[in-house]
Amino acid sequence: MSMTSVLNKVWKSLSRQKAVLAILALVTLMLFFDTNFFTPYNWLDMLRSTSIIEIIGFGVTVVVICGACDLSVGGTMSIGGILAIMLVNANYPFWLAFLAGILSGALVGLVNGFLVVHQKTEPFIITLGMGMLLKGVAQQLTNASPLSSRNMEFMKISNQQFFGIPSLVVYMAVLLVAFFCLLRFTGYGRNCYAIGGNYEVAKNSGINVIRTKWIAFVISGSTAALAGVLLASRMNTGSSIYGDTTGMLVNCGIVIGGTSFAGGIGGIYESFIGLFVIQLISNSMGMLGIGGYSQQLIRGIIIVLIIGMDCYARKRKREAV
């Protein structure tokens, strides 16, 4: 095999996912600047910062593969954190607070799932509304002011290290593997792809479409609340302003990764990459000392570019013969 054909192959597999290409481009760009970008510390820090939205993203990916979406995760996250902090402050043991936080998310997922699956509402709108509703609840609960905890054990959950690796990164890695296996190797995962690929066919083939999709929403709510509890532990604070932009950001990152909103296509690895890109953009721009407003603009441009290029490539492929 000649050198060019090897390069061609590498290029092909890389360009299949534009998000990978974006990561490479950004990393290459950073080579030209003298920053702390390439230190192990920075990479661990990036992973730690991104872990919260990654964890939310894993759950939402399941929903998106089923052909729906979940924009309520920002509110769910906020509620989960606030609830956990309120419980530890009321002197419940920290593990109970932890579980209760996650359960609150499962409950939100249950309601979302009921509305989408049984009442056939449009998931985009209904979960957007649910997100607003949850933010309202969070404001009522906290009187719209941040709530800090007084429990050291609770704080430790997200602020410790395992063998020098921040605990949040470890949690994320474990969930990454778990969700990867769920979607790749289990019958449940396969059924999710089938439902997203073609709902009617899945139904006619005896798949319990309602239960499968419903469970997907419960999973998504639970992971969002879990992320909320972890965030509250990390910040030692629960607040109703956490998660204002999270819902959009997470769903956006998933699409950047290459999981289709139409359903049936994508995976956890893709979502991980897509969500990481968002973090990488912020980090590298921070390193370069680009101001907040410009950051917002550049981030927007890059996101639109990636999704646009990806869709264009897919369109080309679809129309080719």
Binding site: F185, Y193, G197, E200, N204, S205, G206, V321
Partner: protein, 492 residues
């Protein structure tokens, strides 16, 4: 207007290759003005490729195309349309949420002088082919044949002199087909040529003046229809002699297996019938008569007002497809791309979809077992696919259909419901589906078969029920009853 006798379209030595396949090999045809020109051939014979080159979807590799005396080098679909060549695809190109008039003049509202002009001109065009469809009706509310008329009218609105119809009858009932025939005759009288692509040889003989047989990307023969016999045509299509289009009828009917009583839904009225063990039961009726609705209701896919279902003498409840599956039923739906297959899934994943529960241990899919099942059904059904991992959207219609059959066979169902199992499938693959049906009943299974092709039902079934307007109107033994007799009951 072109004079009669002149050739509107001349195709000379056109070749087209795709990676790995020669789709067209020196194809030449001449279509005179004002004729109906039939093109027949099995799937993959190159008919669609040729049409797509004519309309500008694909580019030819070599050869010449002359349209209306002018050599066409390269073209786009819209240029072809403006030049006077339209194609009506099997799947209609209509906006379901817009009105008939808007659809006919889509994108040309301003040229037509606004919406009032659009509706006026659309009305005139529809009148000219004797259609009474309102130009204000929503296309989504129309029947398949009415949509086809809208497509034809749209073609006329571009002053088309050649209209290509790709499998125009696949969604039409025989009654609607007659109306289409009338319209095609009117087009001929106006000097407009039609290229009529179809699997159904009866239609070719009825409507076409000239016929071209294609096989493996080559033109095998072009002749006036009157000079070619049916068996000759089939022989040329498949490249071998088929003595019979149908395998011999099976006779392994046993005692009653499934009894349906008083099935009533919004569209069905008090439907009762019995299906026997080892029987092929044919449903005959017009599209929209309720045939599909009956089987969907039995299968639990649609909501039912009331009915009782006895399986092997025991009353059984089937409220959803899952319960139907457990009761031993399998459904091969009418529209295999929309309701039968998950196109982005592999052949293997499509086959194992319904039996996934048996392949999972603690929720984990057993890959080696899945592979085994995939390979077994591919071999068993002779599915032509590069590999078990190939995605089903690249397979031909017959092979896609076999994937769905394989999905159910894996479950060893007692009752297999086949809704239009051979629609859009070529002659050779049809025969394979027929023999497969015989194998299933031989093994003790029962089949309910719905088909719009009467000869198919008559030759395969042990018993035929006629369905009309949501009611069972008759029961016949296809070995003794005549086709006319059965059809008259089905029309009601």
């Amino acid at each position: 207007m072109s004079q009669p006798g002149r050739n509107i379209l001349v195709v000379r030595d056109v070749c087209k290759s795709f990676p790995g396949v020669k789709a067209l090999d020196r194809v030449s045809i001449q279509v005179p003005s004002g004729v109906v020109y039939g093109i027949v051939g099995e799937n993959g014979a190159g008919k669609s490729t040729l049409m797509k080159i004519l309309s500008g979807v694909y580019e030819k590799d070599s050869g010449t195309i002359e349209f209306d005396g002018k050599v066409i080098e390269r073209t786009t679909p819209i240029q072809a349309l403006r030049r006077g060549l339209s194609i009506i695809y099997q799947e209609f190109n209509l906006v379901n949420t817009m009105s008939v008039g808007e659809n006919i003049y889509l994108g040309r509202f301003r040229e037509m002088g606004g919406m009032r002009g659009v509706h006026k001109k659309a009305r005139a065009l529809l009148d000219s082919i004797g259609s009474r469809i309102s130009t204000y009706a929503k296309v989504g509310d129309l029947s398949a044949s009415e949509m086809q008329i809208v497509e034809i009218t749209k073609a006329l609105s571009f002053d088309s002199r050649l209209i290509i119809m790709d499998e125009p009858s696949s969604s039409l009932t025989s009654e609607e087909l007659k109306r289409l025939g009338k319209i095609i005759n009117q087009l001929r009288d106006k000097g407009i040529s039609t290229i009529y692509i179809s699997h159904k040889l009866d239609e070719i003989f009825e409507y076409c003046d000239i016929v071209t047989v294609m096989r493996d990307g080559c033109v095998i023969d072009s002749r006036p229809v009157s000079e070619m016999s049916r068996s000759e045509m089939i022989e040329k299509m498949v490249g071998r002699t088929i003595d019979n289009e149908y395998p011999p009828r099976m006779h392994c009917v046993g005692g009653p297996l499934l009894e349906i009583k008083n099935l009533t839904t919004r569209k069905l009225h008090d439907v009762s019938f019995t299906l026997n063990r080892g029987e092929i039961l044919g449903f005959v009726g017009l599209v929209g008569a309720g045939r599909t609705e009956i089987v969907r209701a039995i299968y639990g896919a649609d909501k039912v007002r009331s009915h009782t279902l006895h399986l092997q003498g025991k009353q059984t409840r089937v409220r959803n497809p899952k319960e139907a599956m457990v009761a031993g039923m399998g459904l091969l739906p009418e529209d295999r791309k929309r309701e039968g297959l998950i196109l982005p899934f592999s052949v293997e994943a499509n086959i194992t979809m319904a039996s996934l529960d048996r392949l999972t241990r603690h929720g984990i899919i057993d890959r080696s077992k899945e592979k085994e099942i995939g390979e077994r059904q591919i071999k068993n059904l002779n599915i032509k696919t590069p590999s078990a991992q190939t995605r089903t959207h690249s397979l031909s219609g017959g092979n896609q259909q076999k994937c769905i059959v394989g999905r159910w066979l894996e479950l060893d169902p007692q009752i297999l419901i086949l809704d239009e199992p051979t629609r859009g499938i070529d002659v050779g693959a049809k025969y394979e589906i027929y023999t497969l049906m015989n194998r299933i009943v031989e093994a003790g299974g029962s089949i309910i078969m719905i088909s719009s092709e009467l000869p198919e039902v008559l030759n395969m079934s042990n018993r035929v029920l006629t369905i009309c307007e949501g009611r069972v109107t008759g029961e016949f033994n296809p070995e003794t009853a005549s086709a006319a007799e059965i059809m008259s009951r089905a029309i009601g």
